[in-house]
Symmetry: C2
Subunit: 173 residues, 2 copies
């Protein structure tokens, strides 16, 4: 994770990681067959860290936790870059990126729906059901990461996410 | 474009395209120095087609045009896959993908803001300004493409986009 944070996606080579952990490249390949598999394992570790290790997607996070994670991501560009680059690979590859992201999206949508249901009930103030709103939440998170990576001065992930939450939760006047 | 539509991102090799247009691979490389450059040129041609060739982003498209393009994209998976794969590359590469996407996002956000201003005025019914809402529109388009490519049965791009438009345009009760 720290090699990615410091050097970004391209800089996180097998040799750089091997050096950091005091192994040979050959030794590292014993645990992770390819560089892509290693990077996916880092993303999985991040998910575990961010979610406190729970895979129980029905347990609702507080909405503030989502906002916090967006702000936190804005401080770890290398990790967001690695996530976005591998997401791009996942739509053409079969593994391991595709498996990771396909499973992750199902879980993240469920988790988002649970948060929205806990916060707003079966119908959000903006009119959508939790299941209709969840894919939008996830799409804005991912989509804004690309805009921010490409043009940080003109794309504010935190502001955009807060705008979406305000829209979803806006009471009828 | 038709090679991409038929064979997807990985199948659209230089040799497949060369064969389709009746050129040698060497001849094709005279016009496009790399496979990536060729694919970016296809995406540029798609943008020109979709926008009627205008680069005037201040001219507002009707909102229905955006909805139509989302529905249309759901019929051209290979092109959406190529777009998304190159978008992933763009956050680590310097060219040509990065240049294409960075410029494109500036334009698409401007175009989205112009559409929203034309439709709703300086303040959208949902409470946002056109400039605050435009990045959300673009993020939902891109983010939903990834969810749809990875899991088409559980991610409906058209429904999600319509939900967002309804949220943005929802009048105070």
């Amino acid at each position: 994770m720290s090699v990615i944070a410091e050097r970004g996606y391209r800089g996180a080579s097998l040799s750089a990681v091997a050096e950091r952990v005091g192994m040979t490249q050959q030794g590292l390949l014993h645990y992770f067959p390819t560089r892509e598999a290693l990077l996916i394992a880092v993303l999985e570790a991040r998910d575990e860290w961010d979610t406190g290790g729970t895979k129980d997607t029905a347990r609702a996070w507080p909405l503030e936790m989502w906002t916090f994670l967006v702000d936190y991501n804005a401080m770890r560009r290398g990790v967001v870059q690695t996530f976005s680059a591998l997401l791009g690979e996942s739509v053409t590859d079969n593994q391991p990126a595709r498996e990771y992201f396909a499973e992750r999206y199902g879980m993240v949508r469920e988790r988002a729906a649970a948060t929205l249901r806990h916060e707003f009930g079966e119908r959000l103030p903006g009119g959508l059901t939790p299941e209709e709103a969840a894919p939008l939440v996830v799409a804005v998170l991912d989509g804004m990461q690309f805009q921010w990576l490409l043009d940080p001065d003109n794309a504010d992930m935190s502001a955009a996410f807060r705008s979406l939450v305000a829209l979803l939760g806006r009471e009828r006047g």
